[in-house]
Point group: C2
Chain length 478, copies 2
Amino acid sequence: MADKITPRSTDYSQWYIDIVTQAKLADYSPVKGCMVIRPRGYALWEAIQKVLDGLFKETGHVNAYFPMLIPESFLKKEAEHVEGFSPELAVVTYAGGEKLEEPLVVRPTSETIIWSMYQKWIQSYRDLPLLINQWANVVRWEKRTRLFLRTTEFLWQEGHTAHATAEEAQEETQKMLAVYKRFAEEWMALPVYEGEKSESEKFAGAVKTYSIEAMMQDKKALQAGTSHFLGQNFAKAFDVTFQTKEGGLEHVWATSWGVSTRLIGALIMAHSDDKGLVIPPRLAPTEAVVIPVFRKDNVEGVLTYARQLGADLRQAGLRVELDLDDSSSPGWKFAEWEMVGVPVRVEVGPKDIEKNQVVLVRRDTGEKLFVERGAVTVKIRELLQEIQTQLFQRALDYRTKNTLRVGSYSEFCQLMEGEGGFVQAPWCGSRDCEAHVKEDTKATIRNLPNAFKGLPVEGGCLYCGQEGRHWAIWAKSY
Amino acid sequence: MADKITPRSTDYSQWYIDIVTQAKLADYSPVKGCMVIRPRGYALWEAIQKVLDGLFKETGHVNAYFPMLIPESFLKKEAEHVEGFSPELAVVTYAGGEKLEEPLVVRPTSETIIWSMYQKWIQSYRDLPLLINQWANVVRWEKRTRLFLRTTEFLWQEGHTAHATAEEAQEETQKMLAVYKRFAEEWMALPVYEGEKSESEKFAGAVKTYSIEAMMQDKKALQAGTSHFLGQNFAKAFDVTFQTKEGGLEHVWATSWGVSTRLIGALIMAHSDDKGLVIPPRLAPTEAVVIPVFRKDNVEGVLTYARQLGADLRQAGLRVELDLDDSSSPGWKFAEWEMVGVPVRVEVGPKDIEKNQVVLVRRDTGEKLFVERGAVTVKIRELLQEIQTQLFQRALDYRTKNTLRVGSYSEFCQLMEGEGGFVQAPWCGSRDCEAHVKEDTKATIRNLPNAFKGLPVEGGCLYCGQEGRHWAIWAKSY
């Protein structure tokens, strides 16, 4: 921890990068735009994977694995899809010492290769629904990258489902959006608006795209997950038909949905502070760290006490680390463990042993509690739950405070130039209005939140002033 | 299950492919040499991953993720490494619509990219050992491929560790070899010879390579995992040095070790039969399947009973599926579940309900047991353990029966032309002798088993007759 973290208020971007690198979550690699996910960062991904994988399986999905290399011609079968992705493709042209007859692209997403297989696997309504998910790496050649948030290669999961009816596919799209929202709010402690994206922001090849959108501490939006209703677009491109119960032949209906290692960026940006990372306890690889505070005359006694305490906490099922290193000072260690975001610090020193107590320190608030030795497991559990709840509440309060209404478009422009924030404002539904706003302010429609559906739209479109057809959340974004 | 499986005795290769495709473990993809791992196959990989990941973590390793694309120049930094891998590389030459200044290879293995990072991360003896594992996909452009056993893209784990001394790195190499052996024997029910590979079969860039070798049912060997002592080769290539405790500066010592989706091929080949897949219970995604046997007058009663039974078994922690489909006959279902290798079938029909019993059928032996309803959970647990033990014993007996000694080289050649098998025979240590044997018979030295170390080497080299320096296992292999 030789270096300091740039204060959030001084330079938000640098603050974020400082945390990622100082907490050893990720590092720059020698390959342009690609990052290395270091063990502490990967442990967060493992925690995310474990929960999401469980939620996917609970909702009837199974995992599979499809080739990473896709014939270039496959992408061209869906016109919008290839238009959206071709600027970002990495292309293998040589393999095994020879030039390939047809170049292979490294998957930027797997709709095409997967639907080429579904063509073989789906014949009858009995084969539907087909509910498959894949955990994989993908490559999109991005010009401007930022650790976790936008990298050339990233890790993600992509669900690809096939259904007999449009209704069923639409239901699946919403169901997975709800899974993402639940994961964001209950595990990441991150309140999100879930809703439909506008035409100009939808996935290349989708009929409709839905997203969850979260507010970061600089009041920008981060799209944290997407769920797409693909209609029959890919079924038609790959000629995937099925025999209906009634004996007819119809094209299959599709969805796809995904979240990526970008979630780690969201986690960091949403909760951390100038001391480093703050992790919601339910996703923390380590829930508590035990740090003995030595006095020269009592090293062994304190160590023994700390070891026993650590063993007891682990026995009780808590994820605990011990920092018994005697070459650095307690103060240095406190700072180090704050940096990496362990939710609860457990200090034990000679005085605590005498009083048969331990000291608990919350990472999120810095609050110090003196707890009887016998009550420590119960108290830590309580604290973890409290921290989880309060992190969510704090993020929600922050979003509420910074989700504004504006009286006019010029007020909106001023806001976006200055403080920023989410703006809840009506939209007429025109692509042009959205484009003008983006040009003027860099802000876009994040989505049309489900939460605002059915509410009367008060006032005219943010840009043109004509009749507002939807409530939209407008914001600058990552 | 419209198609039949080719009998093992008629055509072993086709038998294997039939099982893989009929049990829906994997499928051919439109990309040459790449396979699709279907949900039932991927579930086996998940089971393997879960156990191995636990064993790696127990032995102090953490996971991380490194870029898949590696600058071509990196591979050239280690002379043997590039020589070994360059014929198999897939190369990205275009990305983001432009020709790349330097081509990027898709990782065939990650030593070079990882050691380029270790150069940044390792400065002092305090940074050692560094014990990192990665779960990832790799690409090796193979000319002849076979589902699971040899595919252009495959999934694997690769451990890459860095140590202060040669001794410690050698110890790690052996430790991970032992982890692989334990996993193969205790989970896969697959007895293996663990030992050193000969010079000509070692990993490109290693000082020494060790492997575990298993016998398949056609008596060929399958290399199921490798562990490499890399000496200082990669540390020197990437200039990775550390300050010693004494203040000196030395190059770091390295190991790497890996197993891949090839293990699924080994699992299939080792235990399956003409009815389909046989899975060792500890790795079976489904341990038991409940199949109601209807009579027209008692459909509801049987269904209710079966559902309750399934719920009870799940409650007890067993991994159970129910097959309640009423459109196919019990006989058809039995065959289907035998095909996919579920270790125990649980049948319940009206007569069983009357007698307050269920019928258990073992997948491995076909043995039928009538068990009292109240004892069913306990009995299934016993059976699963028994099947696990007996599968291992059966494979061990088969290997013992087919590991032979030969009186002469010509006897060896006859054996390899005919029945095949493992041959335990002395080797003088000459690369030439091994090459001659390979040319004559296609058999190679699989390894020099640890189990035979220290035993007196009786007789002369299999090929040249000169003094035997090692006991070797010679066999044809996958």
